[in-house]
């Protein structure tokens, strides 16, 4: 159906976008790929007076190297991230998650920055960004600041991006040579995950030297399974050892209950999927 009437602004620079945000305050909504905002507007669940479209800001697209990190522009589409050779080489976990994100149409329209700023705890990119220790570059009236992934996700649909600020870049530390896997559990392919687990591991001589595990849809934000990470370090990449560590996957989580599964079922899934994700990431 049709959204309520709004003014449409299409700035061509971050500065102009910030100025528009400053001018319109909480009457404005920022649109990136629109894959979540447009349904919300069309169902009239929200009625902003101004919509600021970042699509015209060329500088927010693309992937580049910056020393030990990859820098991904916030307006880079999922499709572009999925097929970027740098991402494939240095942040394979993101590729694994993007590959399973929604469907081809959404991957062509939706953006990595839009998805992360939307902060749906069932979104596919929160857990991998936590696992990879991504940093979020946020531009505001006073310049830019960088927020660590662990501090970025605040609550359900709430991030560290303050009013008047924009997410401009995602900096992903290179995990060259790490094994990666995104284990997503859905009933139909295009569904948000009921639970998903993002795992990146560095295996040295059959032993897990480092491990990062992120959980999707196990609380009001994406979560890191720190207990699992700690338990994995120094363990052999075997079914038994990984299963023992994965049994701690639900520690500190607060999963929802809804028509796709009750909390206790999600708790169970988190453990099983963590074991599978880590084993797959370790190539075991």
């Amino acid at each position: 159906m049709i959204p309520t009437q709004f003014e449409y602004l299409a700035p061509t620079s971050v500065e102009d976008a910030l100025a528009a945000l400053a001018q319109h305050g909480d009457e404005a909504k920022v649109i990136a790929g629109g894959q979540s905002l447009l349904p919300v507007l069309r169902m009239r669940l929200n009625a902003p007076e101004v919509v600021i479209d970042l699509g015209g800001i060329e500088g927010l697209r693309g992937v580049r190297e910056d020393g030990d990190a990859l820098v991904i522009g916030a307006m880079t589409t999922h499709h572009a991230v999925l097929h970027d050779p740098l991402v494939g080489q240095h942040a394979a976990l993101l590729v694994k998650a993007e590959h399973q994100l929604a469907d081809a149409q959404i991957r062509h329209r939706g953006t990595i920055g839009g998805a992360l700023a939307h902060a749906d705890p069932a979104g596919d990119l929160g857990a991998p960004s936590l696992a990879l220790g991504a940093e979020f570059v946020i531009a505001g009236p006073g310049g830019t600041r960088t927020v660590a992934a662990d501090d970025f996700f605040v609550d359900l649909f709430e991030t560290a991006i303050a009013e008047g600020e924009l997410l401009t870049e995602i900096r992903v530390p290179k995990h060259t040579g790490w094994g990666a896997h995104y284990e997503k559990f859905v009933r139909v392919a295009h569904q948000w995950p009921i639970v998903a687990v993002a795992a990146a591991v560095r295996v040295e001589g059959g032993t897990i030297a480092e491990a990062r595990v992120g959980l999707t849809n196990m609380g009001s934000t994406p979560l890191r399974a720190r207990a699992v990470e700690e338990a994995l370090v120094g363990q052999p990449a075997t079914e038994d050892a990984v299963a023992t560590a994965a049994a701690r996957a639900a520690e500190g989580t607060n999963p929802p209950s809804d028509l796709n599964g009750a909390a206790d079922y999600r708790t169970h899934l988190a453990k099983v999927l963590t074991r599978r994700a880590v084993l797959a990431a370790a190539g075991a």
């Binding site: 909504k29 649909f157 009750a262 099983v272």
Partner: protein, 827 residues
């Protein structure tokens, strides 16, 4: 006697050819006339104001702010429209004492389900109408809502307090009373002593037809006739209902179903929205359009299924069935809709299926609740019956300790026994269950998969394999009018067709069926091309407009080919008969010597002849016709079937179950359907594929879920899980043809077969995979969570109800600034 009779080689003929669908280019590109594409001069747009409550008194409706809104023409309530809005009819009062609330399109005092329309905004643009709908201020006094089916059947809370009960009608068939079989209670009692009794209760969850094109209606009242375009399956029935309930003469109403994007029974309806659009257009004297949103479609277009099935099957120790007793409780929702009251009863004749039950009893209690009303959905009554009996036959096999195919073979009607009168009183004309099953087993690799299943069980594999069987039949080709009369249905079941021979030799066909995606234009052209010996390209099929195809009973119940196609054949044959005297006259031969073959009228024993086109031109010119012969070859026919039509088939499904997560994955699906003569194999394959996907979706994915206050939780495709091609596998679709004897072409219906057969095949496979773990049922949809709970016995069985809550991807809690008042329920 059912051996396939020898038919002439059809390789040169149109029937049996994989013709590309001639309608697809316009349908796929959208360069066509969908209702919502229609724009008329001065046309106004409507938006509905809908109740957010399942059950409430309407205290007041303040329309002032909306009326003052820019570009708004008016805002109307039920009180404003009064009797001009007509009523939504209940065409199938299955009993004379059926309790049914009056279904006013826009009620004035009380709403009975969430989504019911209480006011309509009429504006110059659709956006203005939608904006103003949010300004209509409705004050409600919420009432307790009847939501749970079993509790509603016990009258705990009344859906319509004035009626005094939720129990709408009780309908019973008993084979002893009908003289078609024995006493079922005696059979069950005996089996309790020395045989086997299987008692189960199955849930048919509520489903949403979810057709691709949302419903849309345009009404133009400015001509001598009021014209309604509507995305409907039933233009003819709709015209009748409009006339019967508004007082407008039928001759002053023209209903057009232009290209319609799917229905699955969901557009077999006379909707409140159509009635309101009709009334508003008449009141304002201007063309008016209403197109629903997807949210409105899921919430208010009629739903399907929603039954509890209490089943008792008795058998001898060796698995020979002796009796079947069915006790259904069926949720009608808030109103008894067009044919909704009778849909559960359509299953009454099918629970016995292909098996020789000596005793049978069917009991059905229909119940009113404060949910969206239910009506036909692909299969309508027959999927429910097939599910119950095919699940039970697997349970019986498990009890006897034999393969599910063995217990079926022991009980099914053998091919030598046709025609066969069943315990439900139907006469099955043809079938060959043995042949279909043998072919399916071979193609499926049944024995190998059984061996793999055994290996996995013995090894205690995390992935277990299950094989599900469904040897289904159905009754389709609705329907012999006399039978419908006996069932107290409000109409007949005949169909109409006409053939117009144009001067240039081209042919125009009108059919009373109303395609909405089935491919009638192609298949009917093939039939006519063969029958009249004209080119496929020279046949035009006209339908879906009461002024063009003035008679008809429309499309549903797999009837278009087997009933409408037969009418077409008979009309075409009349053309030939009318042409013969003209041909004889022109050829200076006796009519008795005229032979018609492959489009040519020849004189027996000579090489003289004339083509059909020559006769058509001669009839048009009328310069040289025999005395007393009219200058027209045009003919028509109305065909009333003498019997239903009984396609059948064997469906085999292999499912993998991940015992750790409860996740299920389809491994293989083979079906061998016997649908008689196939007109167009490609269209048939498409029907089977789509039908299978829809039936599998009931088994695994789809469910309309309400919360405790009667709000539809699965109100978008985020939560109402439709499968895509990413979720289904490549089906192994085959046929085994036994020509039907109930129509000239030997065809059987195929529109619903896949849906009817597949659901139990899938659930049987899921249960079979984990039966060794002590499980004999998983409630549909077989979600991973239900399977997991059943396997691990965590928090109940595999039959727990679905949680009435959705993930909050798209609601107010998306943390976005700005507010919207949703209390008016506009969506």
């Amino acid at each position: 006697m059912t051996a396939v009779e020898d038919r002439p080689d059809t390789s040169a003929k149109e029937i049996g050819r994989d013709r590309r669908r001639k309608e697809d280019q316009r349908l796929i590109t959208g360069r066509t006339r969908w209702t919502d594409n229609i724009a008329l001069p001065g046309m106004l747009h409507m938006a509905m104001v809908r109740s957010p409550f399942a059950h409430a008194r309407i205290v007041s409706i303040d329309t002032e702010a909306a009326k003052a809104s820019e570009n708004v023409v008016t805002v109307l309530t039920g009180a404003d429209l009064g009797e001009a809005q007509g009523v939504c009819i209940n065409a199938w009062a299955i009993t004379t004492d059926q309790v049914a609330p009056t279904h006013v399109p826009m009620p004035t005092d009380r709403v009975a389900f969430a989504g019911e329309t209480v006011a309509v905004v009429v504006a110059r643009t659709m956006a203005a109408a939608r904006d103003a709908a949010e300004l209509v201020d409705v004050e409600y006094d919420e009432l307790p809502a009847a939501l749970d089916l079993k509790k509603s059947a016990a009258d705990e809370v009344l859906a319509h307090p004035d009626l005094g009960t939720n129990k709408s009608a009780f309908w019973k068939f008993d084979s002893e009373e009908a003289g078609t079989g024995g006493n079922v209670d005696q059979a069950i009692e005996k089996a309790r002593g020395d045989g086997i009794v299987i008692e189960r209760e199955y849930r048919q969850q509520r489903l949403i037809p979810a057709f691709m094109e949302p419903r849309s209606t345009v009404v133009d009242p400015t001509g001598e006739q009021i014209t309604m375009w509507s995305a409907t399956q039933i233009p003819h029935i709709l015209r009748f209902a409009l006339a019967a309930t508004t007082g407008v003469p039928e001759s002053k109403i023209r209903v057009i179903a232009p290209d319609v994007g799917g229905g699955f029974g969901g557009k077999l309806q006379q909707t409140p929205e159509e009635m309101i659009t009709f009334a508003v257009a008449r009141r304002l004297g201007k063309p008016v359009k209403y197109t629903e949103t997807r949210s409105e479609s899921l919430m208010t277009a009629h739903h399907g299924r929603d039954q509890w099935q209490k089943l008792t099957l008795s058998a001898e120790k060796d698995g020979t069935v002796t009796g079947l007793k069915v006790e259904l409780t069926a949720d009608l929702g808030a109103y008894v809709s067009l044919v909704g009251g009778g849909v559960p009863v359509l299953g009454a004749f099918m629970f016995n299926a292909i098996y020789k039950f000596p005793a049978y009893q069917f009991n059905c209690q229909t119940v009113l609740t404060n949910k969206t009303w239910t009506d036909a959905y692909r299969g309508a009554g027959r999927p429910e019956a097939t599910y119950a009996i095919e699940r039970l036959m697997d349970e019986l096999a498990a009890e006897v300790g034999v393969d599910p195919l063995v217990v079926r073979e022991k009980n099914w009607i053998t091919h030598e026994e046709f025609p066969f009168t069943t315990v439900a009183g139907l006469e099955y004309d043809t079938g060959n269950y043995e042949a279909a099953t043998e072919k399916a087993k071979a193609s499926f690799g049944y024995d190998d998969l059984r061996a793999e299943q055994k290996r996995r069980r013995e090894a205690g594999d995390r992935i277990q394999l299950g094989i599900g069987v469904s040897t289904f039949t159905e009754m389709c080709g609705l329907a012999p009018s006399r039978v419908l009369g006996q069932l107290n249905y409000g109409a007949g079941g005949w169909e109409y067709a006409s053939v117009r021979m144009l001067a240039t030799g081209k042919v125009e066909i009108t059919t009373g069926t109303s395609a909405h995606g089935q491919g009638h234009e192609t298949a009917f052209s093939q039939i006519v091309a063969d029958r009249l010996g004209v080119a496929f390209e020279d046949v035009e099929i006209l339908h879906g407009d009461t002024q063009v195809s003035h008679r008809g009973l429309d499309t549903y119940g797999s009837r278009s080919l087997v009933v409408g196609g037969e009418a077409l054949v008979r009309a075409a044959d009349k053309v030939i008969e009318k042409a013969k005297p003209i041909a004889a006259h022109l050829l200076e031969a006796s009519v008795d010597d005229i032979e018609f073959s492959a489009g040519r009228f020849g004189v027996r024993g000579t090489d003289q002849g004339l083509a059909m086109a020559d006769i058509a031109m001669a009839a048009f010119a009328a310069h040289n016709l025999p005395d007393g012969v009219e200058a027209s070859l045009d003919s028509d026919a109305t065909y009333d079937p003498v019997n239903f039509n009984y396609p059948h088939g064997t469906h085999l499904c292999a499912m993998e179950v991940d015992t750790e997560t409860g996740g299920v994955l389809m491994r293989k699906y083979t079906c061998v359907d016997d649908i008689g003569t196939v007109i167009n194999p490609m269209i048939v394959e498409g029907q089977v594929h789509g039908g299978l996907a829809q039936g599998i979706a009931q088994a695994l994915w789809e469910e309309a879920v309400y919360d405790d206050s009667g709000t539809l939780v699965s109100g978008s495709f985020v939560d109402y899980l439709l499968p895509t091609s990413a979720d289904t596998i490549s089906f192994d679709v085959q046929h085994n043809s036994t020509a039907s004897t109930t129509n000239t072409l030997g065809t059987k219906g195929v529109g619903e077969a896949g849906t009817i057969a597949s659901t139990p095949a899938v659930v049987n496979a899921v249960v079979d995979a984990i039966r060794h773990l002590g499980i004999n049922d998983i409630q549909m949809p077989c979600t991973p969570e239900r399977v997991w709970r059943a396997i691990h016995d965590v928090g109940g069985s595999g039959t727990t109800d679905t949680e009435g809550a959705a993930m909050p991807h798209f609601d107010e809690s998306t943390g976005m600034q700005g507010t919207t008042d949703r209390t008016d329920g506009a969506s």
